[in-house]
Amino acid sequence: MAFIPHTPADVEAMLAAIGVASIEELFDEIPATLRVKSLAGVPDELNEMEIGRLMTERARTDGHPSCFIGAGAYEHHIPAAVWAITTRGEFYSAYTPYQAEASQGTLQVIYEYQTMIASLTGLQVSNASVYDGASAVAEASLMAVRANRKSKSQRILVPTTVHPHYRKVAVATAGNQGLRFEEVPYSPDEGVTPLAALSKYENEDVTALVIQQPNFFGRLEDVDALTDWAHARGVLVIAVVNPTSLALLKPPGQWGAKGADIAVGEGQPLGVPLSSGGPYFGFMTTRLEYVRQMPGRIVGRTVDLNGREGFSLTLQAREQHIRRAKATSNICTNQGLLVTAATIYMSLMGPQGLERTAAASHARTRELVTGIARLKGVRPAFQGPCFHETVMLFDRPVAPVLKALASRGILGGLDLAEHYPELGPALLVCATETKTPADIEAYTTALGEVMQSVRAA
């Protein structure tokens, strides 16, 4: 095992060439006191047949429930071609394209990706990805501090309608460099960030405002007004967006009079399976004037010695392998393979397919909400438009309802008790284009039955 091809004769010849008697001798510079005695905690090897059986059993244990949870990770149809090509060894087992001549495939894919994601977000330039949507918010905040030279406060306003996990990751990541994240409350009736909530910052030094559209509740923020408020006060705008929604919704580059300054988000909806939360990828785009403040790899088109077009990593003086302690970020490995999948996905969907996916997802959620709202003891939490996700309020605790639904093979949504206790019993639900009328019917019927058995508070 261990995928080692050596025969005993090979080993013998190799040891002779080195001039040692045994492999053991090659470790003679390591103090003997440090040598491993045993690895008793590691089990015996399994061959491929055995591991296949084990993993198939484990997968079966988890089952394949009907999922109505969104909250930052969305079930969409993924064309078979996406992963058939993405897992080709030439993409799957290649390294970062530092040797450009031997990596033109990867480099061109990233260039095409940069073009697509920049256009989708309505901004000029894109990097080659960061880890996920949450780390993208953290990196964008650090970038805003570098880009907004007039602001000295390192103060970032983050509405509580931004994904709770993203807010936590931003604090855990950028808090170490002295950034302060201040929460802006939402309007309890509407579930969006009102301009009035920003008035206390009217005359304060603020570096950036984060705006999530659609927000964590699925509600649509007044992005134009929020963006203009920020720009009137020298505050940069960081947009956090769902890429599927951008087929229908105004791109960040067109928010307000000047457009958002940085757009980031979770790339998972673009052809990446839910897969327990990763690997996904974070996308990041910005205005051309801020490109040198951007973290991560960037691919440019140039020419070779013969004047023929080719691609290479560029603006590397921003990065850790050149600039070390003064780099824009410590990021090295990113999420390249997921970017490859997303580029193939966007190519197969095209503008029309992505638009239909967004519209169909939205339509399914509306049907779901209509069905749920017919039940006694459930009502929508907020007035106003949503995109493909929404919050429902219950007259009884949500956890036992979800548990009962799960036992029927339905994952009914996300209980908001942990992150938004002020809402009372509340459920975040989502349907996408993958759900049929029959799936939605099954959900509402099951919910109606379950509600009978869970008593109202």
Binding site: F3, L39, I85, D132, P279, D304, G350
Partner: protein, 492 residues
């Protein structure tokens, strides 16, 4: 190799598309509730191509790449070993792919069992007390590690400790990470034999020392022989030791970072545990810690209670440095690493370190015999080693980069060039254990052939590569005349 492929937008035709992939049109009434002022008015620039056109385009692009599956890839410090197909196939079982990250634990016991066992195996092979899996790359694991070191000192009211010591040969991510964590970097030299300069270390440590970041074997391809003294000096000064796991493959099953005295480590699962590099990621940078750092581990972590597995979060770990990913890090990568480790088992694990070291020392012996200069000739190679071409650069005006580019023509990916920075004209070569003797012999033959070319027709080498899809690229132009996105108008 194939020469080139048009940019996909040049294949595009308005109105064309892979319509079989699209949902049925729900009609405009379906979105009537979205206010006009919040809508998009102009379609994004996405390709309009048929499915076969897209498949052909991306398949052709893949053929412009070197990869482990197609070429020997002896890229030092990157551990480009074979990525077993089974790891991919069984991590992509439909139930695993469909599992929502916020799904209930009742529908995740199979997945969580794999994660818990992975934590346990990683503890065992590194000698650490506890492991967290969520960091998504090596540098992300470094961030978690240094953040834990800071949190540890702060929890004791020791607020002055903000200096991270880094040897000058360290990976760039080490100093960059220290900065990300709000620390100050102090670089210290290594001696002529490649070991840390202990006198310089003694002089550098003090009441401001948060810790030291070390790779062992180091980036110079040699084992840090005085690691126990290094640990004593840093610990005596009140600092902690951070192990950069980039080179863990060299010692897997032979020595454990925990036994060397390290307090915190990250592991690059995409190196040592053979998950794919994917053309730049995803990786996975699991972290391991000694007992005193366990409370600070990033969440979530997988806990076990009897026969049930569950996520440990804020309420279980109030001192945690917090959450570093939206969900559970690169879960699918972690599954691949789990499968790989189970396939290797206890025996396989120590064979990795042994054969990686055998291959490196064999390759070094052969290259020395053919006249190439080792950077540290008196030392054993670890799983990798450095040769320096400063003689060739001086006498023949053929550089390490020229050798690297010419190797591409011979069908070998180039070794790492010009890293570490302190060895002039260097190639850092890491064959890994999954390569056989024949491949190594062929690589040596190519190096010898290039040496002959460098002596007899140097321009053949200095103008290489000749057989790749492109010649050497104009990087200055790439940075000065930025062309980062395709634009329709520029093409007409």
């Amino acid at each position: 190799m194939r020469t080139r492929e048009k940019v996909i937008f040049e294949h595009s035709h308005p109105g064309r598309g892979a319509a079989d992939q699209w949902p049925h049109d729900p009609g405009s009434a379906a979105i009537a509730d979205i206010p006009q002022k919040l809508r998009r008015t102009q379609r994004p620039l996405l390709p309009e191509v048929g499915e076969l056109e897209a498949v052909r385009h991306f398949t052709r692009l893949s053929q412009l790449n070197f990869s482990i599956d197609t070429h020997f890839y002896p890229l030092g410090s990157c551990t480009m070993k074979y990525n077993p197909k089974a790891c991919n196939q069984y991590a992509m079982l439909p139930e695993f792919l469909a599992r929502h990250p916020l799904g209930p634990e009742s529908h995740g016991q199979g997945f969580l069992a794999c994660m818990h066992e992975l934590q346990e195996m990683l503890k065992e092979v590194t000698g650490m007390q506890a492991v967290a899996l969520s960091p998504m790359a090596g540098a992300h694991g470094e961030f978690a590690g240094v953040a834990m070191i800071r949190a540890f000192h702060r929890s004791r009211g020791d607020l002055a400790r903000n200096e991270i010591i880094v040897p000058e040969a360290a990976h760039g991510t080490n100093p960059a990470t220290a900065t990300m964590c709000g620390c100050v970097v102090r670089e210290i030299p290594v001696d002529a034999a490649g070991d840390v300069d202990l006198a310089a270390l003694e002089a550098a440590v003090g009441p401001n020392t948060a810790g030291i970041m070390l790779t062992n074997p180091s980036t110079l391809g040699v084992f840090e022989r005085r690691i126990e003294q290094v640990a004593r000096i840093v610990h005596a000064a009140g600092g902690l030791l951070y192990y950069d796991g980039a080179n863990l493959n060299a010692i897997l099953g032979k020595v454990r970072p925990g036994d060397m005295g390290f307090d915190v480590i990250h592991m690059n699962l995409h190196k040592t545990f053979s998950t794919p590099h994917g053309g730049g990621g995803p990786g996975a940078g699991a972290v391991g810690v000694s007992a005193r750092l366990e409370p600070f581990l990033p969440i979530p972590i997988v806990g076990r209670e009897g026969e049930r597995y569950r996520w440990l979060a804020e309420r279980d770990r109030p001192q945690s440095i917090g959450r570093l990913s939206a969900f559970m890090g690169n879960a699918g990568v972690l599954l691949r690493a789990y499968i790989y480790m189970r396939m290797l088992g206890r025996e396989g694990m120590s064979r990795v370190g042994e054969y990686a070291t055998l291959n490196a020392n064999y390759l070094l012996a052969l290259l020395k015999e053919r006249g190439f200069d080792a950077a540290y000739p008196s030392r054993r190679a670890s799983h990798e080693f450095i040769i320096t071409l400063k003689k060739q650069a001086r006498d023949l005006e053929v550089t390490a980069m020229d050798f690297a580019k010419r190797l591409l023509d011979y069908g070998f990916h180039a070794p790492t060039t010009y890293f570490p920075l302190l060895v002039p004209e260097c190639l850092l070569i890491e064959p890994t254990e999954t390569e056989g003797k024949d491949t190594l012999d062929a690589f040596v033959a190519a190096m010898s052939q290039i040496q002959t070319e460098a002596e007899q027709e140097p321009e053949r080498v200095t103008s290489a590569p000749h057989t790749m899809p492109v010649r050497r690229l104009d990087d200055v132009r790439a940075a000065k005349q930025l062309d980062l996105t395709w634009k329709p108008t520029a093409q007409s």
